[in-house]
Amino acid sequence: MLNRLKNIGLMTLAVSALTIGGLTSANAAGASAYPLKEYDWPHAGPFGMFDKPSLQRGLQVYKEVCASCHSLDMVAFRELKALGYNVDEIKAFAAEYEFPNGFDDEGEEKYRKGFPQDYFPAPYGNEEDARDANNGAFPPDFSLLGKSREHLSLFTPWNSIYGEDYIVGILNTYHEDAPEGVELPEGMNYNEAFSGNLIAMAPPLFDDIVEYADGTPATTEQMAKDVATFMYWAAEPKMEVRKKMGLKVIIFMSILTIMLYFVNKRVWRKIKKGDDIA
């Protein structure tokens, strides 16, 4: 009787838990109400590694388009090695930038060329300067956006929003005119992916706004995907070494676990049989 009661109780619970989970999963998603297009990122999954040509194109888009407003404070030129550049290329890349270098004998500021150990310089000297130039809005730093805009869910992975998809979503869902009934304040733009739909950033990408060095057609979607890949790399530069080491650790520990299982079984053989007390 009690067992049956228990089974019924547990069954009811399981069913109601599933129903509640199902009912709520629809509104569980995080930052964006807009259903973001999900891309197959080559760097996703346990074995996924960065698409280097895409990273290089993304760097080009960042440098030629985004960098006029967005900083990339935490990335040093030396790290561009991960994008497939060699030391000389990185030195040449860094030398295109100028950095303040103390003062001369007359108290005037001196400048020097950039070195690989320098960090990407910010487009504005400070936040006030940036807001002044951008209608009061502050263009966020790019270093961690790839990670800070994603919503990962362990138990309902289908509700996860990936940072790269979100970035592409922002760049690709501008509307020239706001839908009927939406008041568009001065200096604002309508964007489907952005929370609240009103975004200060003007649509930054147009077809062929950059000319890719590798000849890839520079469609808006292509550029958005490349810059999203680049931004995810900037946020998680150690992803490749992390996944490679993870594979080794998990293989090693799995074999050790199997061996220890048999060791344990061997140690317990007599005790399990009860030989010592029988």
């Binding site: 009690l2 009912l23 919503h151 080491m245 344990n264 317990w268 049989k273 010592d276």
Partner: protein, 422 residues
């Protein structure tokens, strides 16, 4: 931790042992000198796993401190410096952050195992208290650790949680004084970060001390076991080494595989993405949530309309575990022989998980789409009432009234019986 019959054969070792009998102490604590019940199942692995996680957290934490700067202007950048520039810094930090979560997983299972098999009952009440003290210290340590990266959730989590203590406003200005003491100023700011850093470094070593007391208190009565009966005769017990060292090593190795999956393949899934945005006191996140391991208690806090009573209910929901040994009036420890107790135990567990799930929801989110929509606040209140009813009504009544199953006379007898059947 008890006398030892450890007799070293090596002369030098014996010379040392006569002057400091520390090897005998190890022998009688974790070696062949400690006799444990022969029937411990895999749920008993979680004690040693918790000890392992404490070590992992201390070692990774000490290394992180070498590269971290506890200052509001530098903390966020220092963590990214660890992630980007320090050799294997990403590995150390991801191990520490995921390790904290896994430490709580392990400790929760360890506590639930104690609840199910009645390990809190006489004569192990003090052992149970010490475990709860460890858990409370872990909560404080985990909370302060989450503040250190100085991201948005660090700052706003710290603001919300510290503000709770302002509810203790029993005389004019008392709540404010408590807050000023916690903050070291008039809001969460640099002094707060620095004192949290100091305490986050200190408390783990306090935990180590209480763990030693916890093991001491364990070795007087000895381990409980799945049958919940006292281990009496020599046939009931086996030496800890090699039997449980082998079993614990196997469990540990398997556990490390799970831990590695999190560290290497989903290192950020336990954290909140907003913590990759530097703390900004002028910008409140849309939705402030604490770390997952506080969520059930956060729901209880939100379920009570009055601030002071909400805070009291939240603390009571944890402190009530201290009186569990007396709420439970059963003569039998293990829920194996108490079917009704077992049923309500699982119900309690499901309800607590649901409380945790509700903790991530906004109060007006619709949880059940019927009767015009039942929101998260209502569900949180129902679940909170059940949570307390479990302790105050269900356990005291069920434990005193239920009809129990026959309990075996001894551990060795039950082993022999099982062998005859199987």
């Amino acid at each position: 931790m008890g006398s030892s019959n450890y007799q070293p054969t090596n002369k030098a070792v014996k010379w040392f042992e006569d002057r400091l009998p520390i090897l005998g102490l190890m022998h009688s604590t974790l070696g062949a000198g400690y006799l444990a019940p022969r029937n411990l199942n895999y749920w008993w692995n979680f004690g040693s796993l918790a000890g392992f996680m404490l070590l992992v957290q201390i070692i990774t934490g000490v290394i992180l401190v070498m590269h971290y700067t506890p200052h509001v202007d530098m903390a966020f950048r220092a963590v990214e410096h660890i992630m980007r520039d320090v050799n294997y810094g990403w590995l150390i930090r991801y191990t520490h952050s995921n390790g904290a979560s896994m430490f709580f997983v392990v400790v929760y299972i360890h506590i639930l195992r104690g609840m199910y098999f009645g390990s809190y009952k006489s004569p192990r009440e003090v052992l149970w208290f010490l475990g709860l003290v460890i858990y409370l210290l872990m909560m404080a340590t985990g909370f302060m650790g989450y503040v250190l990266p100085w991201g948005q959730m660090s700052f706003w989590g710290a603001t919300v949680i510290t503000n709770l203590f302002g509810a203790f406003d029993f005389y004019e200005g008392m709540g404010e004084s408590i807050l000023h003491l916690l903050w070291g100023g008039f809001a969460v700011d640099n002094p707060t970060l620095q004192r949290f850093f100091s305490l986050h470094y200190l408390l783990p070593f306090v935990i180590v001390g209480v763990v030693i007391l916890h093991i001491w208190a364990l070795h007087l009565p000895g381990s409980n076991n799945p049958l919940g009966i006292d281990a009496k005769g020599p046939g009931d017990k086996i030496p800890f080494h090699p039997y449980y060292t082998a079993k614990d090593l196997f469990g540990l190795s398997f556990f490390i595989v799970i831990l590695a999956i999190f560290i290497f393949y989903m290192p950020n899934i336990m954290g909140h993405p907003d913590n990759y945005i530097e703390a900004n006191p002028m910008l409140t996140p849309a939705h402030i949530v604490p770390e997952w391991y506080y969520l059930p208690f956060y729901t209880i806090l939100k379920a009570v309309p009055d601030k002071l009573f909400g805070v009291i209910a939240m603390f009571a929901s944890i402190l009530i575990f201290f009186v569990l040994p007396w709420l439970d009036g059963s003569k039998i420890r293990s829920a194996k022989f108490r079917p009704t107790t077992a049923f309500f135990f699982w119900l309690f567990l499901l309800n607590t998980l649901y409380l945790g799930y509700l903790g991530t929801k906004l109060p007006d989110e619709i949880m059940i789409d019927m009767a015009g929509g039942i929101d998260a606040l209502t569900m949180g209140r129902i679940s909170s009432v059940f949570y307390f009813a479990y302790f105050i009504v269900i356990v005291p009544l069920v434990s005193r009234m239920e009809s129990t199953k026959p309990v075996p006379t001894s551990i060795s007898q039950s082993v022999l019986d099982a062998n005859k059947k199987g």
